[in-house]
Chain length 421, copies 2
């Protein structure tokens, strides 16, 4: 292993991190399972990219078939992107009928920010203060994990993100209103500075923020403030989208709002690099008039075929329903676990995106959570941590995760908690 890690550090840089104290050298995947080079099997409770399961045969077959027939850019006419575009936009409950296909969620958010600028004629952007929306120079201005070189640009405002254990404004009851006051303050600042508000961008599941439990309508007052100031709402559905949250296809439906622009990424092609921005036709037109934009790989026939296969598998295997059922079952198991382990301060989630927040002695148990992540890995279960203090065990498996898989996860978690506490 050392030799591989040395090669890796030399080629990919000394700061290209791996997961886990002892990295996993993977060689094969199938469904919810991964195997390492020594033949050891792991239950994958973390990877959302293989949304319909690692190496799903229908997705692999779609990629192979199309890669063998034609792969080219969209300055020619090809049916696949049109068929997919119609199938995808049909999944939205309101007037999001147009799309731009790109290669990554980062490219999608980079485009979304410019769409909002083009449509509103303003430049200010409001995001939350503990988030991640992607890795381009423009989008990384919104990230909280590392202050950009030269600091944040003046048109970016970060507002306090909602939280279960340390709610904005001090109470869970008043959190929606306190969150909205943060947005209203940012709106006022951006208006005063001359930037104006082009958009509020949020993950409607606040996934990186630690997926706090939010009631339907949580964002209504904040959204009203942005709209009143002439801004648009961008929903980054890279993590909650495609039915992962079980109750709905999209995170914004669960919270009960209608975004102007939706961005999609990781799970869209089950690992194939494909992503998209979905919006109203007039916003797309306005963007195309303001910016010349063409994406060579975006929406090529192979990418569109991979994405189409993913949509079809979600339908045919009833994976949204599975996420709903297994997620609720697993949260129930975690609540039982909570009754036996004091360090579990909170259990929460929706569908196949759930977890347990760890506290000890009245403070976030960051170190314990890191130890749990490694202990679980050593016991054959892959998950990770999330949240402002990295003290929440994050479970976000392929959506073919079963009740039996949930049993195994929670059994191992029970034993691991016993070992590390």
């Amino acid at each position: 292993m050392t030799s591989d890690l040395e090669r890796r550090a030399r080629l990919l840089g000394p700061h290209m991190t791996t997961f886990y104290r002892e990295p996993v050298h993977v060689v094969r995947g199938q469904g919810v399972w991964l195997w390492d080079k020594d033949g050891r099997q792991y239950l994958d409770c973390y990877n959302n990219v293989p949304h319909v399961g690692h190496c799903h045969p229908r997705v692999v077959e779609a990629i192979c078939r199309q890669a063998g027939a034609l792969n080219t850019h969209t300055r020619y006419v090809h049916d696949m992107i049109l068929d997919y575009g119609e199938a995808l936009t049909a999944k939205f409950g309101h007037d999001l009928d147009s799309l731009v296909m790109v290669c990554s969620g980062s490219e999608a958010n980079d485009v979304a920010l410019r769409m909002a600028q083009a449509m509103t004629g303003k430049t200010g952007v409001i995001g939350t203060d503990n988030t991640y929306h992607g890795n381009t120079a423009a989008v990384s201005q919104l990230n909280s994990s590392k202050v950009p070189v030269g600091g944040y640009q003046d048109h970016v405002r970060q507002v306090p993100a909602p939280d279960n254990m340390a709610p904005v404004g001090g109470s869970l009851e008043g959190q929606a209103e306190a969150f909205a006051r943060g947005v209203e303050k940012a709106v006022a600042e951006l208006d005063a500075s001359g930037h104006g508000v082009s958009a509020l961008i949020v993950c409607p599941y606040f996934a990186n923020e630690g997926f706090p439990t939010l009631e339907r309508g949580f964002l209504d007052r904040a959204i009203a403030a942005v709209r009143k100031a002439g801004g648009l709402i961008i929903a980054d559905e890279v993590q909650p989208g495609f039915g992962r949250i079980g109750s709905h296809w999209w995170g914004h439906e669960r919270l009960g709002f209608a975004p102007d622009i939706v961005t999609l990424g990781k799970p869209m092609g089950n690992g194939h690099p494909v992503a998209a921005v979905v919006t109203r036709p007039e916003i797309l037109t306005c963007f195309q008039e303001a910016f010349r934009y063409f994406n060579t790989f975006g929406g090529n026939p192979v990418s569109a075929a991979a994405a189409m296969a993913v949509l079809q598998v979600i339908e045919d295997e009833a994976l949204v329903e599975n996420a709903c059922d297994v997620g609720a079952y697993a949260v129930g198991l975690l609540q039982e676990l909570q009754a036996r382990h004091d360090v579990i301060a909170d259990v929460r989630g929706a569908g196949l995106f759930f977890g347990a927040e760890l506290w000890r002695d009245g403070t976030p148990a960051t170190g314990l959570c890191a130890a749990m992540v490694d202990e679980m890995r050593d016991r054959g279960v892959l998950l990770h941590s999330v949240g402002r203090h990295s003290n929440t065990l994050k479970v976000r498996p392929p959506c073919v995760f079963s009740r039996e898989n949930a049993d195994q996860l929670v059994d191992v978690m029970d034993a691991a908690l016993g070992a590390v506490t």
Copy 2:
């Protein structure tokens, strides 16, 4: 066809352009050939993305095999990205031993600009005034086709690009020196403005600028001025790279300079969305310390497998040598054509990237060139135009293009010139 174009305009926006007066509705590709939905066959003289030929069986097989075994991100350890990284960096003649794998040339240039910022502590960027380096918000600041909303940012300077028919400074002999003076002026402005110079970014083939004929050493004085001011040199090898120019693997080798950062894109995976930034280890380290960067899809096992297959096919089928031989042969044929057609003012190129510049009555024949592009398409040969006045027929086919294909291209061009002039 109308129905497809209507669906396309509705889904992808009214300004999502197609090539050709009558768009080509493609369904299949193989080698240098494309077929439309009516079964009509076209000689593809334009697409550089399918570098080793449309649907090359070895690339398709590599994608299928790896997609069926494992596709995941690089926070696990996997051999494929390491094997590929070593094979790729071995293709560079100097100390470019590290890489970041991404999904598109746009992402690659977006990273490259930040690498230069991190390494130099400066922010100014110099590019040429008739170019394209990609579509992210940051990179599109360098593009000349459309002024960005809000104008160019103050840290960007565009210098006059070299040209065969209208050389910078007025003469071909003095062009290198005049180009360097443009760069020196930009350096002085950026230093005076406080931005300083982080990088000069150029395509070393000046592909979008119209691929002017440049002697070895053309950039030396300009590069010296940038280096003296503390800036780095970024070579955007998206178009000339991977042996297309025949005499060398990379455009910068042909011009005889050693860039600090090289970006790669389109042809790298023969259509699979994969791209890379190759640089010196200390620059990568500096970038990783200044910016948190992780690319979920970048360098995944399938992308790396596709890219590895492309490298192997280039070697095994001797495609660099083929580009050299067929390119020289085709340029010779075009020179014969020039003797019979007054509108051909210049014939130039290197390897399988060549063309003919059209002038009439002492002015660039932009309209005639557009008519030629459509006429060629109607006669079953796909190419396009390029250059400041879009008056150069651009030929940049898959690198399996043969002498027989060149004969067909030039025969059809001969007849088409007769028809449109």
